[in-house]
């Protein structure tokens, strides 16, 4: 089975986000594989172990993204492709990224494409479904289980608390939800071997995509941190006084009653 994983490098979820002039400050920040993409990588490697074949991971990013690709290789992915972009190049939105990925993937043989159901930074959940549209293949989003039997695919998806069971066939694109699997840690010898594996690098010039396909369809209007939660207040006194004070506060201070 030929499997492709689409991956994004994101901030470590434990990083403190600093916004300066409407832009997120990247200095001193640890970059990791988007956690949902980690599920996709793990599932791809598991399917390969079960059915044979190979796994190719593709990312669009700066040269910093090479470390995420190396981690994927250490986990058990066979090939890695980096579509390299300059830091200050035109920012692609989900539409642009999907078209870049489609241009690379169209040239390849594949049975299954896996991705995360969203990235933890922008959280748009669009690249996977958009890519499936461009490639004109079916897709199932937010899966928590997948079985492949010949050409047949059976998946369970998380439908906001319910489980939907969906049957389809290869080729297909699926996006991973938490619960799909437990990603493995890379082995130390695997990390060392991954250092020596080649990474195929493509530039935007190599791909020669029509300008029109890269035009952003959405735009980030503003970027801000959630408001700091004000500290709570503990009311004192006997119960009836506390209730009275609470009602007063809800009416006049919080103005919710």
């Amino acid at each position: 089975m030929k499997i492709i994983v689409i991956m994004k490098q994101t901030f470590d979820t434990e990083e403190k986000i600093v916004i300066e002039n409407g832009v997120i400050d990247k200095e001193n920040v640890e970059l990791i594989i988007n956690p949902y993409d980690e599920y996709a990588i793990e599932e791809a490697v598991k399917l390969k172990e079960k059915h044979g074949g190979d796994v190719t991971v593709i990312t669009v990013g700066t040269d910093e993204a090479e470390s995420a690709l190396r981690t994927a290789l250490a986990i058990g992915v066979d090939h890695a492709i980096l579509v390299e972009m300059e830091e200050d190049a035109v920012q692609l939105d989900e539409n642009g990224i999907a078209n870049v990925l489609a241009t690379v993937i169209k040239e390849k043989e594949f049975d299954l494409i896996l991705g995360g159901n969203m990235s933890v930074d922008n959280g748009a959940s669009q690249v996977g479904p958009r890519l499936a549209e461009v490639l004109n293949i079916p897709h199932i989003a937010t899966i928590t289980k997948i079985e492949v039997d010949g050409k047949n695919v059976k998946a369970e998806r998380d439908a906001e608390g319910d489980v939907e069971i969906i049957e389809s066939s290869l080729p297909i694109l699926v996006t991973a939800q938490q619960g799909l699997n437990e990603p493995r840690y890379p082995s130390l010898p695997g990390i060392m071997k991954a250092k020596k594996k080649p990474i195929q690098k493509l530039s935007m010039e190599d791909l020669d995509i029509e300008e029109e396909l890269l035009q952003p369809l959405s735009k980030i209007v503003e970027c801000y941190l959630p408001k700091k939660k004000p500290s709570g207040r503990i009311l004192k006194g006997d119960l009836s006084n506390q209730v009275e004070e609470l009602v007063q506060l809800l009416c006049h201070e919080a103005k919710v009653i």
Partner: protein
């Protein structure tokens, strides 16, 4: 929360291990009205980043004696401090290359004469009894301390803080010190001003603020040469159950390994300080330094580990992080008076403070109350601030040739 008094008999800046153990010792000796000011939470600085290794193995007799004295507190923390400190006597093993066999023997002898339970162990014994997966052939010789191992720095810190509070010490967290206030002529300490504008008057101030000591003292005209050094650490799973293995100082490869009994994981630390990465004290104060290990550092740690344990091919990378140690030019701390009357330093532990914490608390209390050490065989002179200008540095009795790590 404890409210801030206007005056105090002693103010301590920093509620890490050193600040809290000093506060505890002073309170135990009858000093009332001690206030500890901490800019974050207890143990949130260098203490929280410590690997917690316990060993008596030093090439400096004085540090060996401090470690021996301190081990008693780690062993009997429950009786002495009233709380457990996570002491795990898994043993401490020290390995050197061929070139350092004689030095190791001399150091072990020196350590034994200073009360360390240690001995030279043969490669066969290591292979059979201590760590079967270790490729002992590449080492020259080993020493083993059965009572070494590790402790929990955060639990130790909390135990000291609780014990100090029980004796009346006030510890104020999230209360940074903006500046030290001195008399008009700058000769004496008057007090401190906190970040939120409160003043605490005191004629006695102990600066146990780690790297923060640098700018606090610079503002009153005293140069304290401490800076931050990035320490990169890697957590791995050996991929197989190894049983009880010791903390290991590997001076063949300049690394140290600390086991974790609860998880079976190993912490890999770098002891090769040939190309240190420094962190500017101002950046450190602003929290502006990397918290993750670089790929290069992780790779180095893996290569060293796999070369020691070539059969552990199932070992896995769990996580990595980057800490900041406060280091002095000679790797020896400052437990010292300063040119300003009433200001004392207790900082610069250079990544090896945890194991000597109990002793440091006693010594700092001695220094503040009596101006000299009351601890047998432990002179305060090597820790004085002026040692650099006087060109009188503490030298190891039997220095290892392989290491650039001065503080072993």
């Amino acid at each position: 929360m404890t409210s801030l008094p206007q005056t105090a008999d002693v103010v301590i800046i920093g509620a890490g291990l050193m600040g809290c153990s000093t506060a505890y010792e002073l309170a135990k000796r009858g000093i009332k009205n001690i206030v500890v000011l901490e800019k974050n939470a207890i143990g949130s600085g260098a203490t929280g980043q410590s690997s917690g290794v316990l060993r008596g193995h030093y090439s400096y007799p004085i540090l060996t004696r401090m470690a021996v004295q301190s081990l008693e507190t780690f062993k009997h923390a429950k009786e002495i401090l009233g709380n457990d400190v996570g002491y795990q006597p898994v043993g401490y093993m020290f390995g050197v290359d061929e070139e350092n066999i004689e030095t190791l023997k001399k150091n072990v002898k020196m350590q034994q004469s200073n009360g360390v339970n240690t001995r030279i162990v043969s490669k066969e014994e290591v292979k059979k009894e201590i760590w079967p997966q270790l490729d002992t052939d590449q080492f020259g010789a080993f020493a083993f301390e059965p009572e070494g191992g590790y402790g929990d720095p955060v639990l130790t810190n909390q135990a000291y803080a609780d014990a100090a509070r029980a004796l009346g010490v006030k510890i104020k967290q999230y209360c940074g010190v903006h500046r030290v206030i001195t008399s008009e002529d700058g000769s004496k300490v008057v007090g401190v001003e906190t970040v939120d504008g409160h003043t605490v008057f005191s004629s006695c101030l102990i600066v146990a603020a780690g790297i923060g000591a640098h700018h606090l003292m610079k503002n009153v005209g005293v140069n304290v040469p401490v800076k931050g050094q990035r320490a990169q650490l890697v957590y791995i799973s050996p991929g197989t159950y190894m049983g009880r293995v010791p903390s290991f100082g590997d001076f063949k490869h300049d690394q140290y390994i600390k086991p974790e009994v609860s998880s079976g994981h190993l912490l890999l630390g770098n002891a090769d300080h040939a190309n240190p990465q420094y962190i500017d004290p101002a950046d450190y104060d602003a929290g502006n330094y990397p918290r993750h290990a670089t790929e290069e550092a992780i790779e180095k740690a893996i290569v060293k580990f796999l070369s020691c344990f070539p059969t552990l091919v199932q070992s896995k990378l769990i996580s990595s992080y980057s800490a900041a140690y406060e280091i002095t030019p000679d790797g020896i701390p400052f437990i010292s008076s300063t040119p300003i009357e009433g200001i004392f330093l207790c900082t610069g532990f250079s990544g090896h403070g945890f194991k000597i914490t109990p002793s440091v608390g006693k010594l700092t209390a001695d220094l503040v109350l009596e101006g000299k050490s009351r601890q047998k065989g432990i002179d305060l002179a090597p820790f004085r601030l002026t040692r650099f200008e006087e060109n009188d540095l503490l030298e190891p009795e039997h220095p290892y040739t392989t290491t650039v790590n001065r503080h072993v």
